[in-house]
C-alpha cells in the first residue's frame, strides 16, 4: 500500500472512532444532484458571498469606520489638503497606498453586484419553475429574507466610504426615516446618534455590515442549504425523471469537482471585473458634505428601482392638525416595497390556496405550463424594470437624447399600464407555446422537405418526435396533477368567490397531447 493511502486510512479511522462519521458520509457522499445551468444561479450567489467574506475581511484591515474629521495627505493629489472623514481617508489610503487594495475593493463591490443579481436570477428560476411549491415553502421564505437583507447589506456597504455619492444616499435614507409618522424624527436621531450626519452612523452601520448581517446570512444560508440537501434537489421533467426520484450525478466526485471548480470560476470572473472595470471610484466623488451634490446621483441597481419609484411619486403630502405626512416618500419608499415583498413571501401559500393543491412537487414546471404564474412573474418584473429605468432616467436622458420629464411621464403611466399588458401578453404566449407543444407532439417536427402527393398536392414532411421528447412535452397535467377543482363548500362568501374565480382562471390550459389524440389522427399525418 502506498504511504499516502495508509495515512488517509489512519486519519479516517481516527475521526470515525470518535464521531461515527463513516456511516453519515457513506450515505451523503453519493448524494445525487441533477445537472442544469439554471441550478447554478443559487451557487453563484453562495460563492459571491464567500468572496465577499474573504475580500471584506481584507478591507477591514485598513478601513477605519470613523467620521472623525481628518486632512488628507495621501498619494492622490487632487484631494490633498481636503478635510474629510477618517472613513473616506482610509478608503483612499486603501485604494492608493495599499498594493492590491483597490483591486480588493473592486472585487468586493463587483461581487456584491453579482451576489444580488444572482439572488434575483435564482429567485426568477425558482418562481417560474414552481420550485417553491410544497415541500419547499420554508426555503422560499428564507430566500425572500436573504434578498431583503442583501439589499440592506449592499446599501450599508457602499455607504461606508462616506463619499459624496453615498453620503447623498444616507441623506435620503435619513429622510425616509424622518418621514415615518409620529416617531420619524426620533428614529432619525436615535439612528444617527443626534443630527444627520453626526459621527455615530458609519461606526454603527459598519458593525451591522461586517458582523450582524453577515452572521445572519451565514445562518440563513446554512438552513437554506441544509433544506436543499435534506429535501433533495428538484429536477426538470424528462424521460426517467419522476416525482419519486432524482436523477443526476453523485456528489463524490463529480459534483465536488464541478461545484468546487465553479467557486473558482465565480472568483475568477469577479476578479476579472475587478481587474478591468472601475467600480465606485470614490476618489472622484469627493468627501461628503450636505451642501454639495453631483448630477446623476443614483444608488446601486438593487436600490435603483426604489429610487425610480420615489422619483415617479406624485407630490403628495397631508398637512393637518399641525402635522405632516409625506406620502411622496412613504408610498414609494415603504408602502409599495412592503406590499411587493410581503406578496412575494406569501406567494407559495396564495397559489396553493387558489389551486387547492396540497401535494409535494419535485418535478419542476415548464413556465408555459403555469401561464398565470408565469404571467404574474413577468408582470412584477415589468413593474420593477419600469421603476429601474426611471431610477436611471438622467443618465438615459443624456445618453439617448431623451428628456427626464419624458421618461418620468412614461414611468408614471407605464407603472400602471405596462404590467397588466405584460400579464395578458405573457399568458397568451404561454398558451400559444402549449398549443405549439401539442402540435409538435401530434404532427412532428417540420423538416422543410416538400413532397408531391400522387394527386399533385404538395406536403411538407413532418418528422415524428422521439419518445423522450414526446414524454417531456406531455408529462405535465396527468389527470391527477390538474389543479384541483375546488369543492363547492370552498367557494362561499367573498373570499370563496375570489378563490373560485382565480381557480377557474388557473384551469385555462391547452390539454396536453395524448396517445389517444395521436391515434385518432390516424394516418392523416406524416
Amino acid at each position: 500500500m502506498k504511504k499516502s493511502v495508509k495515512v488517509a486510512g489512519a486519519t479516517a479511522n481516527y475521526v470515525d472512532e470518535r464521531t461515527g462519521a463513516a456511516k453519515w458520509l457513506k450515505k451523503n457522499l453519493t448524494k445525487v444532484f441533477p445537472d442544469h445551468w439554471s441550478f447554478m444561479l443559487g451557487e453563484i450567489a453562495l460563492y459571491s458571498f464567500v468572496i465577499l467574506l474573504l475580500t471584506g475581511t481584507f478591507l477591514t484591515f485598513w478601513f477605519d469606520p470613523s467620521q472623525r474629521e481628518v486632512v488628507y495627505n495621501g498619494s492622490y493629489l487632487p484631494l490633498s489638503g481636503v478635510h474629510m472623514s477618517a472613513a473616506y481617508d482610509s478608503t483612499l489610503h486603501l485604494s492608493f497606498d495599499v498594493r492590491g487594495g483597490l483591486l480588493m475593493r473592486q472585487i468586493h463591490h463587483w461581487a456584491a453586484l453579482i451576489f444580488m443579481s444572482a439572488i434575483v436570477a435564482h429567485l426568477f428560476r425558482v418562481f417560474f419553475t414552481g420550485a417553491f411549491r410544497k415541500p419547499r415553502e420554508f426555503n422560499w421564505l428564507i430566500g425572500v429574507g436573504l434578498l431583503t437583507f442583501g439589499i440592506v447589506e449592499g446599501f450599508l456597504g457602499y455607504s461606508l466610504p462616506d463619499d459624496l455619492l453615498s453620503g447623498t444616499g444616507i441623506r435620503i435614507a435619513e429622510a425616509i426615516l424622518q418621514a415615518i409618522p409620529v416617531v420619524g424624527s426620533y428614529l432619525s436621531f436615535f439612528a444617527f446618534g443626534g443630527a444627520f450626519p453626526g459621527t455615530a452612523f458609519i461606526p454603527r452601520i459598519f458593525i451591522v455590515h461586517v458582523l450582524l448581517l453577515p452572521g445572519l446570512f451565514l445562518a440563513l444560508i446554512t438552513i437554506h442549504l441544509m433544506l436543499v440537501w435534506y429535501q433533495k434537489h428538484t429536477q426538470y421533467p424528462g424521460p426517467g425523471r419522476t416525482e419519486k426520484n432524482v436523477v443526476g450525478y453523485p456528489l463524490m466526485p463529480v459534483y465536488m469537482a464541478k461545484a468546487g471548480g465553479f467557486f473558482f470560476v465565480v472568483f475568477g470572473v469577479t476578479a476579472f471585473l475587478g481587474a478591468v472595470a472601475s467600480i465606485n471610484p470614490i476618489w472622484l466623488y469627493g468627501p461628503y458634505t450636505p451642501g454639495q451634490i453631483s448630477a446623476g446621483s443614483q444608488p446601486d441597481w438593487y436600490m435603483g428601482w426604489l429610487d425610480g419609484l420615489v422619483r415617479a411619486a406624485p407630490p403628495l403630502e397631508t398637512h393637518a392638525f399641525g402635522h405632516t405626512i409625506s406620502w411622496n416618500i412613504l408610498i414609494p419608499g415603504l408602502i409599495i416595497p412592503g406590499i411587493l415583498f410581503t406578496g412575494m413571501a406569501l406567494y407559495p401559500f396564495i397559489e396553493s390556496w387558489i389551486t387547492g393543491d396540497k401535494r409535494e412537487h419535485h418535478l419542476l414546471d415548464r413556465p408555459r405550463n403555469a401561464p398565470n404564474r408565469t404571467a404574474l412573474g413577468v408582470t412584477s418584473i415589468t413593474f420593477i424594470l419600469v421603476s429601474l429605468v426611471n431610477g436611471g432616467n438622467d443618465i438615459i436622458a443624456t445618453h439617448f437624447h431623451l428628456t427626464i420629464n419624458g421618461i418620468m411621464w412614461f414611468t408614471r403611466v407605464g407603472l400602471f399600464v405596462l404590467p397588466p399588458i405584460a400579464f395578458v401578453v405573457t399568458k397568451r404566449i404561454c398558451l400559444s407555446l402549449q398549443r405549439a407543444d401539442r402540435d409538435l407532439v401530434l404532427h412532428g417536427k417540420e423538416t422543410g422537405r416538400l413532397v408531391m402527393m400522387p394527386n399533385g398536392e404538395m406536403l411538407e414532411v413532418h418528422e415524428p418526435l422521439s419518445d423522450a421528447k414526446k414524454w417531456t412535452l406531455t408529462q405535465h397535467q396527468l389527470p391527477e396533477a390538474l389543479p384541483a377543482p375546488l369543492p363547492p363548500s370552498a367557494t362561499v362568501g367573498l373570499k370563496g368567490k375570489i378563490r373560485a374565480r382565480l381557480n377557474r382562471a388557473n384551469a385555462v390550459q391547452i390539454p396536453a397531447a395524448t396517445l389517444t389524440d395521436l391515434k385518432e389522427l390516424g394516418d392523416g399525418h406524416h
Binding site: V32, L103, P135, T168, R171, I172, E174, A175, Q178, G184, S185, F189, F190, A191, G194, A195, F196, P197, G198, Q231, K232, P239, V246, V247, Y249, P253, K258, G261, F264, F267, G268, A271, F272, G274, A275, V276, Y288, T289, P290, A295, V310, R311, P315, E317, G322, H323, T324, N328, I329, P332, E360, N393, I404, M408, D467, W471, Q475, P479, A513, T516
Partner: protein
C-alpha cells in the same frame, strides 16, 4: 377504441452514451493534458500576481484600447488573480466533465410526511412529557409566564433609547437669524449685492456667531442658494417681493423632498432642479414645485443689506427647511 384516454408513456432514462474519453485512450490522454494545462495556467497566474506585486510600481500607466490609460499594477494583479482562480475552476470542471463517471444515477425520494404511527406516537409523547409540566392545568403559571415573556423584549428596546438625544426643536431651527451675514461657500467671505450680476448664482452659508464651528449638521440645514434675476422676471406677491433685494432672491438649498442639495439653476428658464429625484422649482414664483415628487416649495430666505452694503438675512426662515417630518406644521408652507 376504449374510452380510456391513453397517455404517452415515460420511456425511462435514455441509454448512456459513452464519451470519446471513455472509449478512446487517445482522447482520454488528451483530456488529461487539457486539465493539466488548465491547472498549470492557474499556477502561472499566481506567479504573475506575485511578480506584479513585487516588481510593478503603483504609479505606472499604459494606454489600452477600450480601457484608456490604465494603472498597470492594478491590472496585472487583477489579471494574475483572475488566471490563478479561473483556471483552477475550469480545470476541475473539465476533469469532472471529461474523465469522471458521467453515467446518471437515480436516487429515490420519500414523502416527508411521517408514518401515521410515528405521528401518533409523537402526539402521545408530547402529551405525556409536555403534560407532566402541567402547563394546561396551571393557568396561573401560564398567564404569568405570558406576561414575563411579553415584557422581556422591552428592556433591550429601552436600552437603545440612549443611541441618540431627542430631536427637540432641531428640525425646526437653523443658524439663520435677522442680520446674519451671507458668506460664500467655501471661501467664507461676505458678499455684496453688486457682486452678483443678473443671471449669476452664489452658494452661501450663514455667518456663525464667534466661537461656533461650522459642522456638517449645520450645513445640512443652513445651505442657501442666491440667484439674481431681472426684477421684472419675478412673479411674487408683495411680501415675498420684499424678501428679495434688487432682484436677488435666496432659497434654502436643502430639498423639501429628501434633503439633497437643490442647486441646478437654469438661468434662462429660472428653474431649479434637484438631481436626486428631479423635483423642479420655479424661482420666479418663490420656488413653487412645477415637476417631480417634492410637495412644498423651497423655503425662501428674506434678505437685505446691512450698513456696509453686505447681504444679510432680514429675518430667520419662516418655515423649517428640508424634508418633512411628523411634527412639522405645514399649514402655512
Amino acid at each position: 377504441m376504449s374510452n380510456q384516454i391513453e397517455r404517452f408513456q415515460d420511456p425511462g432514462l435514455p441509454e448512456h452514451v459513452h464519451r470519446n474519453a471513455d472509449v478512446d485512450p487517445k482522447a482520454e490522454k488528451r483530456a488529461e493534458r487539457q486539465v493539466a494545462v488548465l491547472f498549470l495556467l492557474s499556477a502561472a497566474g499566481t506567479v504573475l500576481t506575485i511578480a506584479a506585486y513585487i516588481f510593478i510600481k503603483s504609479d505606472k500607466y499604459t494606454y489600452l484600447p477600450v480601457m484608456g490609460s490604465t494603472n498597470i499594477q492594478q491590472l496585472f494583479l487583477g489579471i494574475g488573480l483572475t488566471a490563478s482562480t479561473l483556471f483552477i475552476g475550469l480545470g476541475a470542471i473539465q476533469w469532472a466533465k471529461k474523465l469522471m463517471p458521467d453515467q446518471e444515477v437515480i436516487a429515490e425520494r420519500h414523502e416527508f410526511r411521517s408514518e401515521e404511527a410515528d405521528r401518533e406516537d409523537f402526539v402521545a409523547t408530547l402529551k405525556e412529557y409536555g403534560g407532566s409540566a402541567g402547563l394546561g392545568r396551571r393557568s396561573l403559571i401560564k398567564r404569568s409566564m405570558g406576561v414575563a415573556l411579553g415584557l422581556v423584549g422591552l428592556s433591550p428596546l429601552v436600552l437603545l433609547r440612549d443611541t441618540g438625544p431627542l430631536p427637540k426643536k432641531f428640525f425646526e431651527t437653523n443658524s439663520w437669524a435677522a442680520g446674519t451675514k451671507l458668506l460664500l461657500d467655501p471661501a467664507g467671505t461676505p458678499i455684496k449685492a453688486s457682486d452678483l450680476e443678473v443671471g449669476a448664482v452664489a452658494q452661501v452659508l450663514p455667518e456663525l456667531p464667534a466661537g461656533t464651528e461650522r459642522t456638517l449638521e449645520n450645513t445640512g440645514k443652513d445651505a442657501v442658494l442666491l440667484i439674481r434675476l431681472r426684477p421684472e422676471d419675478f412673479n411674487l406677491d408683495a411680501e415675498r417681493l420684499s424678501w428679495t433685494h434688487e432682484g436677488i432672491i435666496a432659497f434654502s438649498k436643502i430639498c423639501t423632498h429628501m434633503g439633497c442639495a437643490v442647486a441646478l439653476y437654469e438661468q434662462q428658464t429660472h428653474h431649479l432642479l434637484c438631481p436626486c429625484h428631479q423635483s423642479t422649482f420655479d424661482v420666479t414664483r418663490a420656488a413653487k414645485v412645477i415637476f417631480g415628487p417634492a410637495a412644498r416649495p423651497l423655503p425662501q430666505l428674506a434678505i437685505t443689506v446691512d450698513a456696509d452694503g453686505y447681504l444679510v438675512a432680514k429675518q430667520p426662515f419662516t418655515v423649517p427647511v428640508g424634508p418633512s417630518f411628523w411634527e412639522r406644521n405645514s399649514s402655512n408652507g
